[in-house]
Point group: C4
Chain length 232, copies 4
């Protein structure tokens, strides 16, 4: 993981987050333009997002770890796998990449490059949904790394595919993506004023996920024997 | 499999069943809210369920075996891979987790935490469908473990994806999930009074699946040579 | 492959074909009942079929080869991997299994067990489509076995997922399944009188596929070195 | 890669491109015939295309590399992995295969074999979309080969699944496919007069992708150790 230098890792984080956000925002624009059925539009938003996550985590994971998500970077910083400086650089790259992603999607669909969203997403139920979404994402990543590292891109893509539908918030689960989505007044947008509730809930859910998995995975021995068993 | 202690295994069963039920119930609520086309709603219920099963079985399988299903636990108890006490603890954890899952989904969508279903699901055709669904699930799991253990999370996710559509009951195939679904008056619900028929049919189908696969897989030699051949 | 005795192999062929046909017919009934949009119904027919193929080929492949298809059995007989007697037994098991599958689907949906289809599927374009569909299926299987045997269940499931949509006949590509589908007057049916055109076209396409792949794959060396390269 | 002779490699490129185009064009015809909802039609076009790409790259990759795309062939020629002569032969085979694919699809749906498209696809936004689409495709292929070669068929299939939706042009990303699609006046067509803009944008995006990945991947050491790390 440490074999790529920091500039390359930051480019991977920024580019990956940009492509992820371009997929979320762009497919939302496409879907909304083509149908009036909102379930179908959500499906047209879900499948590209899940598919792209598998691709991006596979191709950028060996370079930067493929976080694309400040909540995930925070988890690895808390686990001492990233220094505070690295973590801050990662988050900055993710935030910049996310905004570039929104601009890319808008440019491809001939919209103004940035446009504050008017879509209300707030209230206790949605905050709970974001906390659950981030909790599940962190649990998926940490257990995935422990038991079947090669499957992590698939696990995250499939988890988000499910979470788009089972959470009332459609599972942003990512502060950098949430901020980028506040700058598009299309299907996938969120009002800037609603960001704090989402971001706090996401970070909270991520910390709970880290704590629970720290306890749950502290069994079964460590290292090679376990890995071997998991692959049998 | 025995390397994680029983408390961790029970938490894995409860948490996995909770997330599975939250996905089934939550995606049903989301789908029903977004479209009037029932086939599209079922698709919005199917894809998240299949995707989440792959994730949950991958991340909890090495801890508890990732049954999430009393019919599956019964099969492994009959095969003497779990003691009676372990099996009863598993089932209790699954039942509790399932009900928590329904409550989580309801809380995320701002509904009353529990609400008995009014959706009628009964009659010989649906009982046959549940028996077939559970038979196929057990066959998939037992042959999957024998021939390609690493693929089992995928096989189960894909099997349930198909079974949502080819059975008239939409394939509950799981007594703990059926009970949890009796407590939601939404898309995926089932009247509490219809539970016994479903549960009996599921257990019956599971036993038939166990018996047939016991005979069918008793060929081709056991252990390493077979495994090797299966992977060529 | 030869390690399971013939009775078990024939049960695997019959049971696999039955579950495949039950999936095709059952999901067609479900889809047609839930929506008036035919594209959505075809999607609700496609995804379960593709998913089930991955499952069935994985779990029955090591027992019988998981043909479930007289055209595929014919190809392996022409390649001398099955004796004439074995091939005839396979085809009989597939035909019986297919008809049982239609009956299972009908019973689960409370329909008469067998009911001749009135759905016209005939004409040169559809026969061409069936020949192309079977050609592609055989090419997928033969090249898949050569280059990445473990991927064959996925390749066949994905190929059929695509072929449902790119062929005007929705790609039956399987004489046993075609005959079983002539006995259901639902979404996936075909008039009995249209069977000969479909079956002949399927066998023709399969033979062309065998001939072309025999030539195309006769390069690159044989055995271990190639296998190793294919997996790098 | 060099173990198959040039004629076989060219047949693989032509046949693969033909089946890819037949899938794109044929599923578009099917989808458009079955529904009036354009999002659903695009979904019925997307899923078969993504599924078929996984199949075709798996079964033809070990023979020819499975480019099916002059932009990809150009990238490998620039990387000196193909001679100029080989590259030109590849492109000719892809162009011929693509046109045969359109004819196959038309014949299967009883349409005139070739028919110039009237569908306008032009303008700066769409050209940007094509450049982004080809950039992402090349990045996916080059990083995929570096980090997880066996996953490349899946990565390309998933990438195109996403790109159909997040780009305003529905991501042709392939000059041979674009030319073949100019010869069908159906869902997936493009006016012949709009081809130059698309082709130039695709080649431009591919070159940018090559340059960026050349820099980004030039870290972390080369060869076996990296490959091993990527698989941990």
């Amino acid at each position: 993981m440490q074999k790529f230098d920091l500039p390359r890792r930051l480019v991977a984080e920024a580019l990956g987050t940009a492509l992820l956000v371009a997929t979320v925002v762009g497919s939302g624009i496409m879907a909304e333009a083509l149908t009036k059925d909102v379930a179908l539009a959500l499906l047209g938003n879900t499948l590209p997002t899940g598919a792209m996550l598998v691709v991006l985590i596979t191709i950028f994971g060996p370079i930067s770890g493929a976080h694309f998500n400040p909540a995930v970077t925070m988890v690895f910083a808390l686990k001492r796998e990233l220094s505070a400086n690295e973590a801050l650089s990662y988050v900055a790259a993710q935030l910049a990449g996310g905004i570039i992603g929104t601009m890319m999607a808008h440019a491809m669909f001939a919209l103004p490059l940035l446009d504050a969203s008017l879509k209300m997403r707030t209230g206790g139920s949605q905050w709970l949904a974001e906390a659950v979404a981030a909790f599940g994402l962190v649990a998926t990543i940490l257990a995935g790394i422990r038991f079947d590292r090669a499957a992590v891109p698939w696990l995250v893509g499939l988890y988000i595919t499910a979470a788009y539908w089972f959470t009332s918030s459609t599972s942003f689960a990512n502060p950098a993506v949430a901020i980028a989505r506040s700058l598009t007044n299309t299907f996938s947008g969120i009002r800037p004023v609603d960001l704090p509730g989402f971001v706090i809930a996401e970070l909270f859910g991520a910390v709970i996920g880290l704590m629970l998995m720290n306890w749950l995975l502290r069994g079964g021995g460590e290292g090679a024997p376990m890995t071997k068993e998991a692959q049998l």
